[in-house]
Amino acid sequence: MIRLRVSHLTRYDYTDAVSLCHSIVHLKPRQCPHQRCLSSTLRISPGPAVNREHEDFFSNRVNYFSIQQSHNVLEVTAVSEVEVSAPSLPEAAETPAWEVARDCLHQRRKPAMNAALVFTLASPLVPLNVAAREYAALSFTRGRPILEAADDFMARIFHEFAYDPQFSSISTPVAEVMAHRRGVCQDFAHLAIAGLRGLGLAARYVSGYLETLPPPGQVKLQGSDASHAWFSLLIPDLGWVDFDPTNNLIPGEQHITTAVGRDYQDVTPMRGIFYGGGAHDLTVAVDVNRVLE
């Protein structure tokens, strides 16, 4: 069990004053089987006229706020403390064949499976791309144990796709990521989800943070961490199991989950509509640190 503290600052500098701004943020960590959120606060400057929290369709914590005073700078800081632990997974080779998982979903007998069907469908940013399905099918061979297949799939993405922050735009279509074999964590997650859904499996998008460790002997730089994204696969009897294809590992004690959804669009950390403002500059700083008890 590890205790992590994350601080996520988002700052907009506008050239002209903004008279009114509405915003929806997914910044407070949700509860998960392997994560407990101990505390989470949201600091908004200038002070919002309205600030409310609700739970969305996917049981994420969502905050809506609106700022009604004229401002040139908007600063939102989320500070949270969570306890995370690594999941205990069975031997990959002993998990059921992936087709069993698929059929279990589509039999329409178990409410829990029916409820997960939403994650088998195309979603706004994850169309059912044929190339992605075929790419996934190379790992999901006939009768292969599902955990083993998923591990292999994750590893192939890690080895065969280049991590390239220059390539990705706000949301690079899955087809483009497939064609160029490059992207960032968000793109890898989307592509993996497209492949798994193409096979009839339930896969979802996870947005959160990753603790980075400085090279041995060096001091960790402030603001050097970042928001992160990975995917999750539904395995009957086991539940949702996370995979981080960007780092080729199963998230454990370094990952903090903020929100889950069908794709990035459901869990965008911060979105907003503002009146006025002109051009703007965006600054983001994330720090993840261990809290010693």
Partner: protein, 860 residues
Amino acid sequence: MSVPNLAAALARPGLIDDYVPIPGCFDEMRPAQGQVRPQWRYVLESLRTLGPAGIAERGREAARMFRDNGVTYNLNGDPQGMSRPWELDLLPLLIRSEEWAELERGLMQRAELFNQILLDLYGPRELINRGLLPAELIDGYREYLFPCHGLEVARRRPLVNYAADLTRMPDGAWRVISDRTQSPLGAGYALENRVVLSRVMPSLFRDSHVHRQAGFFRAMRRTMTRLSPGRDGHARVVVLNPGPQSEGYFEHAYLANYLGYTLVQGGDLSVRDGALWLRTLGRLERIDAMLRRIDGSACDPLELSEDSNLGVPGLVEAVRAGNLVVANALGSGVLEHPGLMAFLPEACRHLLGEELLLRDIATWWCGEPKARAFVLENLDILAIKQAGKPPGQRGVFPASLEPHAREALIASIQAAPHRFVAQERIKPSTAPVLIGQRLEPRPITLRTFLCAEDEGYTVLPGGLGRVALTDDALLVGNQLGGLGKDAWVLASEPERQESLLVSGENQSPTVIQENEVSSRVADNLFWIGRYAERAEGLVRLLRMIIFKLSERIDVDTVPPAQVYLRSLLEALTQQTQSFPGFLGEGAEERLRDPLPELLSLIADPRRLGGLPQTLQALGNAAYSVRERLSVDTWRIVSDIESRLGALTSNPPTQPSQALDELDPLVTSLVAFSGLTQENMTRNEGWHFLETGRRLERGAALTALLRSTLTPLAPEQDETTLIEAVLGVTDSIITYRRRYHVGTRVGALLDLVLQDEGNPRALAYQLVALERLVTEMPKGELAVGRSLTQKLVLKTLTRVRLAELDTLVQPDPQSHRRLVLEQFLEELEADLAAISDALTAQYFRHEEQPHSLLRRIGVVK
């Protein structure tokens, strides 16, 4: 409406014998074998009594009423859509009371069922978790709005308004073709059909004991009030619509007006403090409830479709916070997925514990393997619909497709089966319609309307009948164009006369509250005032010029382009801003033969600043605020539009012809001004219209005086010019009465510049403006005079203090009245500044909303 033929047909003996129902179809009037159904006898008999001439007359009357009331239907993608008139068959569809009662029960059950389904889908989702509804069908459909899951629904009524399109099977049983749960359109057209038909056929209508409709609309008002978050039972309701270009704009405006609600667009609204506000002049007005006439997904760019500019950012949160009720609830559009029909019987048993009373035409959802296999094997006897396609492009018949298109369809079904739905090809019921010389059976569908009540639902008696112009009623689908039919439910007992305005019971207020004037509406009214005045002034000037031109042609001895004529032509170019015209390059040539340029300004719709464009601009502005204009005013607008149509489609080639066209236009424009004076309440809206008119009249007069009086002219010319100015300003009689001795520039200026008692004088306009701007709303913190007020005062003072003797002095060197010229130029600038100040104070719309760059650093 080709009614004369109907008369001829009815006059023939054996008319009914000639009417042969389509084999295998249910006919509303006559079974395949046998006599006309009893309920039709009286209507047919009445038409026969009316006689050919009488029926022709009623037909014209109905057409005229639709035209005068501006009842139009705007078909998607049709550039002429705005002026497409609504058409109505004089023969109503007749339904017996007992039969209707049964249908009503089925419809009410269906509405209740849909309401429950919505509560479930946006709540516990038991239907999906228990496997009664496939997740693919709901969650894969773009109108299932995830952000709206878990929203509190006022009084558990997400479905407030509902409509179902019906037809009948060959055995006479009613079947549902499609459901409208998003924001059902058509009740307003049904109401208008009824209003017109009952006026055109008063005695037939009275004697037939038809179920009335006003009760339904009262229920709508009651329900909106009841659903609104409790604030003294005084709900402020807006009707959110996409604007004048939209499909059903007529109806949005008509219903808003009928219900006494404010018609708004997204830009008129703003969310603050977690509540919805209407931006009116200088203040914000809290809104309790919204009748939405746009898709749910387009309502909030913050949480829903972010590329929509029809909605209001933050709207979903206002609903979430319980500060606003939206009807129908956001997300209700999901029920329009045609595949849902295949699952209704099961859902009905589960949710209501009842059997579904009103059945759908047989439907297969291709997302189910078994259904898909059946559909692919039986393609040619089915109609295929695709969920999420725009209205009108939904259905195809595989049997009539080219082989490659058929293959492509099969491939798309296999690729994304959950998007496709198949329905049996039914033989829709028919009703008598006149085609050519005969009464013929035509496929017909009936759109029925329901509204939530305290308990259950109420049904609009009858509904909107639609005659399918193609033979396939399945494809009539969504759009409302085509030929309409009123539907009469024949009561066994005579019904009380009722309407919303005069209500015997205390169920709704007898006087509908004045609704708020938004900045956009005020802006439009201001421009209606300006354009109406501009058009009138322009027509008067054109008429005067042509008149003078004709005199010249008659005499034929005078040299071309005398000074007076030149001045008038220059004034025309100036006033219409149609340079070069008679002022710039090529002016000399045009002055020698001014007729082509004149005729072009009169009739060419492409000429910027010309008469057709000015009238068109007036029509557009009027259309944008049509719910604010009285029926009579709207009739004049229609009248002006039809004159405009005649003018541009058949442009005059001779001066005399042009005069024939211009004379009645002046009359219409004067009538328009008169009606806005007499028939509009003196509210904020009227103030803006009147301000526009006064400002325009002042500006036009100033420009006219500058063009005509600044250059010095020979005495004879000057006299003619003064006469012309008096003619254009309609001041000749006053002038003659007041100044007996000839005509002089000084006297003219006295009358049209400084006389505060002459409604055509500049001073009069300024005095009126001063009063108008003083009475306009001001911000609560405003102290002293506004900029607009100061500018008006300054201009008025300038006019009052002007020394006419000095003004008329000519400058011997330049042969111009330089002092006058400068004075008038300054006045023109002043008037323009007043207009700008008003715009900045009242019409400046808030900045456009932008989306934050949504990407937050995505790094490993």
